[in-house]
Symmetry: C2
DNA sequence: AAAAATCTATCTAACGTTCGTTAGGGTGAC
DNA sequence: GTCACCCTAACGAACGTTAGATAGATTTTT
């Protein structure tokens, strides 16, 4: 009978991630989290010492879900150009299908302290960024791979970031919210780089 | 001798903008704003009806300061390629020299309601985005000008956004924080687009 | 095997703090 | 004398958090 009443830490975190992602740390109260989980605020303190710890654990879970994707995009043996294409499409799909992930990352980059930024760089960007730099180097040896990697990331992520306001900008079409269309556009920008 | 004691609305707003930009709406209290201005919190209500109004007016001021820059970049008659180069450099300089502006915009895009997004699109992006789309169309007629404009914006803005974490990423160099270096990199990515 | 003790997850109630905001009074300038 | 500007003091609400009790499951003891 305990199945329906007990709450695990992971249950709480999964319900918490969308709240922090959408509203940000300060706009989400412990009572609001508790309600989303189906318990009272005080009960949260049985699972987590304080709000900060709950947030950090939610972050870790949200990020760990996608830390592996990054690597996978690189294992396939193909031409650099095909790998870049695949990578951009994968990134576009990722940020579009998991907005929580993208928003949490954005909030962390904006407001995170040094320790949290270090964590982000090591465990989320980490290997991905290194592989990306290598790929850039093999495609455009004359360009700075660090700048190139950030440019690729920026192209993908900004198209997602700006989507709330995109509707109000001149020339908007529904297709601009399609991650495949955006991916193709970005790839067409980069493939001629030399 | 009222010069040293009186406070004008604009004085308050100018002191408020950096606070909202750095910490965000919720993390800035009326008492904190008042202290930065040199008065008490209650006195703020002589100038503004409530915190929300103060924030909106601060936003308007921060944005109006740069609404005109956008246009200026387009008046000069030159080849599209030179205009693009100039525009990218101008944008890079803008976002680097006025981080408050960039951060406020980022926060608004993330958390603003529909009305505020509409305002942002009309009065900040507005003409700039239209001119940018035209420029893109003349340089790359086969590409969607809406997507192209956002890509250019994204390249510039993301390089700024990610600067807090850049230090921790592989391949970082001091020069990557130089807006001119970044501008040149971005331009080199785009000039070959056809 | 039954009873007792412990542990786990939750609850209600409340505490102390901070927040946005208001009421009401003072003081100097025009 | 009126108005603009600032002050002190306080209010009510919301917040994070703690104390203490309760019910059910689990473990230990008899």
């Amino acid at each position: 009978m305990s199945k329906t009443k007990q709450t695990t830490k992971t249950d709480i975190l999964k319900r918490t991630i969308p709240l922090f992602a959408q509203y940000g740390y300060d706009k989400v109260s412990m009572r609001q989290i508790a309600e989303a989980v189906g318990i009272k605020a005080a009960s949260l303190y049985h699972h987590f010492p304080d709000k900060q710890a709950l947030y950090i654990e939610a972050l870790s879970l949200a990020f760990s879900n996608h830390a592996d994707f990054m690597d996978e995009s690189f294992v396939l043996q193909a031409s650099p150009e095909r790998r870049l294409r695949q990578l951009i499409l994968g990134l576009c799909t990722l940020v579009n299908e998991d907005p929580d992930f993208s928003r949490l990352m954005q909030r962390e980059i904006m407001d995170g302290d040094e320790k949290r930024l270090q964590f982000l760089a090591d465990h989320v960007f980490g290997d991905f960024f290194r592989d990306m730099s290598e790929l850039c180097l093999s495609m455009a040896p004359d360009k700075d791979p660090h700048l190139m990697s950030i440019s690729v990331l920026g192209l993908v992520i900004y198209h997602f970031q700006i989507s709330p306001i995109r509707f109000f900008l001149p020339g908007f079409q529904d297709s601009h919210n399609d991650s495949q269309v955006v991916a193709e556009h970005i790839f067409s920008l980069l493939k001629n780089t030399h």
